[in-house]
Symmetry: C2
Subunit: 179 residues, 2 copies
DNA sequence: GCTTTGACCGTCCACATTGGACGGTCTTGA
DNA sequence: TCAAGACCGTCCAATGTGGACGGTCAAAGC
C-alpha cells in the first residue's frame, strides 16, 4: 500500500471545509457564509475561494455537484475532506494577521500635518461606534431567535468587545494625541 | 511643463517613508523599527521592505547612501518622498485587515472534536495574559523615561486594551463554548 | 409584453504580502 | 583560534486582495 499523501491544507481551505460540513455550497455561497458568520475576522475573497475549491477538488477533498442555475456549482465535502479538516484543526489555530493603518497613523503622528490625526481619530470614533451599534442590534435580534449556535454568538461578542474597547481607547487618548 | 507623475504610493511604502523622517535607515533597521514601535499591528517583512525601497529609489522618493558594513545600505528620504508621504496621509488610513484563526476556530466550534475548542481557548487565555503582562511591563518602563513620544504610548495602550478585552472575552464565554 | 435593473455566479489578472531558504559579513566570547 | 550568533540582503513559492469582465436569471416598472 502506498503512503497516502496528506496534503497539509492551509487555513483558507480548512475554513471552506468547515463551512461545507453543513452541506454543499457554491463558491459564491461560501463567500457569503463567511461574511455573515465571521465577517471582519476571517476574510475570504472570491479569487481565493474558487482557487482553493478547484485545488481541493483535484485532491478529492470536495466533489463538485451538477451545475445549476447561472453556472452555479455546489461543492460537497468528502470523507477525505473531513479527515483533512480534522487534521488541520488538530494542529491548532496559528498566529493571526493584523494590519491596522489607523495604528500606523497614530504611531507616525509626529510626522503628520497638525490636526490631521485628530480628524482621523474623530472619524474612527464615529465609525467604531456605528459598528458597535450594528453588532449590538444583531446580538439583540439573535437573542430573540431559538436554536442559534452559541459559537456564532461568541464570535459576535468578540466583535462587540473589541469595538467597545476601541471606542474607549480613543476616548481616553491624551490631549497631545487625540482630543 | 510635463504633468508630474504622482506615484500614489501604497501603505507599506508610506510607513517606510514615515520612519525615514527621523533619518536614514537600512532595510534591516526599518523592519526592526516597525517591530519595536507598532509591532503586531503593522507587519513589515523583509521581502516587502527591500522591494519597496528599491521601487521608491527608482522614483526618487528615497536615495541610497554609501554601502556600509555587511552590505548595509542606508536610505534617506527626499523632498519628493516627504511630499508623497504627506499625500498618502491626506488620503487617510484605509480599511484594515484582520485574520484571526482563533475566531475561525470558535465559529466552526460545532464541527471540532469535543474538547478541542476548550483546550485551544485555555491556551489562548494564557498567551493573551502573558502578552498583556509584557505590554504592561513595557508601559511601566516607558513611563519612567523622559521624552517618550506620546504616540508610541498610545499605540502601546491599544495593545493593552485589546489584550485585556480578549482575556475578558474568553473568561465570559458561555459554558457550551468555553469554560 | 418589453425592458431595465440588479442580484447572482464564476473567471481572470495584477498586485500585495508572507515566510523561509540561502549566502554572505562581522563580533564576541569560549 | 574557532564557533556561535547577530547582522544584512536576495530570492522565490505560496498566499491573499481587489477589481474588471462577462454572462444568467428574476422582478419591478412601464
Amino acid at each position: 500500500m502506498t503512503a497516502q499523501q496528506k496534503p497539509e491544507i492551509n487555513a483558507t481551505a480548512a475554513s471552506l471545509l468547515g463551512f461545507l460540513h453543513d452541506g454543499p455550497l457554491t463558491g459564491w455561497d461560501l463567500v457569503a457564509q463567511a461574511e455573515r458568520t465571521i465577517g471582519p475576522f476571517w476574510s475570504l475573497t472570491k479569487s481565493q475561494v474558487y482557487r482553493e475549491l478547484a485545488l481541493m477538488a483535484e485532491h478529492g477533498l470536495v466533489t463538485p455537484g451538477e451545475t445549476g442555475r447561472r453556472d452555479s456549482r455546489p461543492y460537497a465535502i468528502t470523507d477525505a475532506g473531513r479527515a483533512a479538516f480534522a487534521a488541520w484543526a488538530a494542529r491548532g489555530p496559528g498566529e493571526g494577521t493584523i494590519r491596522l493603518p489607523l495604528l500606523l497613523f497614530v504611531t507616525l503622528g509626529r510626522h503628520l500635518e497638525p490636526g490631521l490625526l485628530r480628524t482621523v481619530l474623530a472619524e474612527q470614533r464615529i465609525q467604531q461606534a456605528a459598528l458597535l451599534r450594528d453588532y449590538l442590534g444583531m446580538r439583540q435580534m439573535l437573542d430573540e431567535l431559538d436554536g442559534v449556535d452559541p459559537h456564532l454568538l461568541a464570535t459576535l461578542d468578540y466583535g462587540i468587545t473589541v469595538a467597545r474597547a476601541t471606542v474607549r481607547w480613543i476616548d481616553h487618548l491624551p490631549p497631545e494625541v487625540g482630543a
